[in-house]
């Protein structure tokens, strides 16, 4: 749009003979159509010289380009100069239409599920505690992913040295899994009854640790979701 000066008749003179042709050149609006069609269909930008060679004798592509450029001013497509040549391009402000967003549903990774489930059962829980339970360190990416999905959020800081932040699950986590509150999550016994914990624990271990744990859980949870 700023380079209209390139379309002055002077610029045209370089390539062609200024002859009084034997054949009458087509009317200018017809020439404009021709330039339009050629630029549209060409696989690469087209130079004025090339336009001249393809259009009927006596044509004035530079003038046709000028008119065409005017015509496309403010349209969804614009006439643009590309080096020595010309091309049609979609208007830059409509670039976003050339994108198509596709949503792909993917299963949450095992690390993310484990981290999430620890937060759900042990909330509020610090990163160190999650790592202790999982037995491996929790990657920043995993926590960020869960935060971004808005399934977990930061809880209050723990009153222990360093005042570490804690994580808790969100309403939208409960929504997604159809839970009224985190206490509705099935306990260890339910899991075993459902066959999810197939292997029998070593005798004497569960009754002690398991029940304690579960008590702990509900204590923690009532702190958060307490009623």
């Amino acid at each position: 749009m700023t380079d209209d000066d390139d379309l002055t008749p002077g610029a045209a003179a370089e390539g062609d003979e200024p002859e009084a042709s034997l054949f009458e050149a087509p009317p200018m609006d017809e020439q404009e159509r021709m330039v339009e069609a050629i630029l549209f269909a060409s696989a690469e930008p087209v130079s004025v010289r090339e336009l001249l060679s393809r259009m009927p004798h006596g044509s004035e592509p530079v003038e046709a380009l000028r008119l065409l450029k005017q015509r496309y001013q403010g349209r969804g497509v614009t006439l643009q100069r590309v080096g020595e040549a010309w091309a049609m391009r979609t208007a830059p402000d409509l670039g976003y239409l050339m994108q198509k967003e596709t949503v792909e549903t993917r299963k949450l990774s095992r690390a993310a599920i484990e981290t999430l489930v620890i937060i759900a059962y042990h909330q509020p829980v610090t990163r160190a505690e999650i790592e202790e339970i999982r037995g491996v360190s929790v990657s920043r990416g995993t926590v960020d992913q869960l935060l971004e999905m808005e399934w977990i959020r930061f809880g209050r800081r723990k009153m222990t040295p360093g005042r570490p932040v804690t994580f808790v699950v969100t309403e939208s986590f409960l929504d997604h899994f159809g839970l009224e509150n985190a206490r509705d999550l099935p306990g260890l016994k339910d899991l075993r009854a459902a066959g999810l914990l197939e292997n029998r624990p070593p005798p004497g271990m569960t009754s002690l640790g398991g029940s304690n744990d579960e008590e702990d859980d509900s204590a923690d949870q009532s702190e958060l979701f307490g009623d």
């Binding site: 994108q99 993917r106 914990l197």
Partner: protein, 270 residues
């Protein structure tokens, strides 16, 4: 039956027909089947396809097949089937209708053949018109520099409650099945008990219940209490063996008491 009837017919073909037939024989491979051949033959009649004489057409076709076999040209089975059918049709058309005979009349069969020829010709005309249309890439053109649509992929992660449960189960089971190690925090070793008692023994001039020798914080948790008691008792026995202390128990299940040995004396009890 066709033999007798085709003979005179071949003779009756016009010169033009015969030339046409011979021309046809030369490019027999060029025909797209018997119907195509019949259509070509019908053109020699130079009439509207709806008014074509099927009888004459049948004669021409049979003559063609005859000629081909005379020239020992291999004709595809299709052509021979058609020849047989046309011979049958011809006989139907020539003989007066037999009321006892079932099936379609010769006229019906002829009408259908004429219809087939007309339909094929119609399709060919349509093909010519279609192929003569302005065509993409020849007469009109698509955008030469298409701007591809950029696919922006957004990933949405999901999990089911079952995934969660399985994850939780996995973590819990992993805990239960880690390699067995003694839980050291609930164990008070004999070495610890000995060290503690050696330090305190100097103050034990009187008989004292060994349960009072337990370290602080080891008497509220049953597991720890058991461990501490056992170790303290074992350490006491060791001290007695070394001759630094003596033990006594007044009755079954009565408290076990200990004091340091100042003078040489035996154990109080068993």
């Amino acid at each position: 039956m066709s033999e007798n009837q085709t003979e005179p017919n071949v003779a009756s073909l016009s010169v033009a027909d015969r030339l046409a037939a011979e021309a046809l024989i030369v490019d027999v491979d060029g025909f797209e089947g018997p119907l195509d051949l019949l259509l070509t033959l019908s053109r020699t009649q130079k009439v509207d396809l709806r008014k074509v004489s099927v009888l004459q057409l049948a004669r021409q076709y049979l003559a063609f097949v005859e000629k081909a076999s005379a020239l020992r040209l291999e004709l595809a089975a299709d052509y021979l089937v058609m020849a047989a059918w046309l011979a049958f049709l011809k006989s139907r058309l020539l003989l007066p209708p037999d009321p006892t005979e079932a099936g379609p009349s010769g006229e019906e069969m002829a009408a259908h053949l004429a219809y087939q020829l007309e339909r094929l010709q119609a399709m060919r005309d349509a093909a010519a018109r279609l192929m003569a249309r302005d065509r993409l890439g020849r007469d009109f053109f698509a955008r030469g520099i298409p701007e591809g649509v950029e696919r922006v992929r957004r990933v949405r992660y999901t999990a089911t409650l079952l995934d969660l449960m399985q994850g939780y189960a996995r973590i819990r089971t992993r805990d239960e099945f880690r390699p067995f190690v003694m839980d050291r925090d609930a164990v008070y070793t004999m070495e610890e008990a000995l060290g503690r008692m050696r330090g305190l023994l100097g103050f034990a001039g009187q008989w004292t219940d060994i349960s009072s020798w337990l370290p602080d914080g080891w008497d509220d948790d049953p597991a720890k209490w058991r461990s501490a008691t056992a170790s303290t008792f074992a350490a006491s026995l060791e001290l007695v063996k070394e001759g630094h202390a003596e033990l006594r128990q007044t009755d079954n299940f009565a408290p076990i008491e200990l004091r340091k040995t100042d003078r040489k004396s035996g154990k109080a009890n068993d």
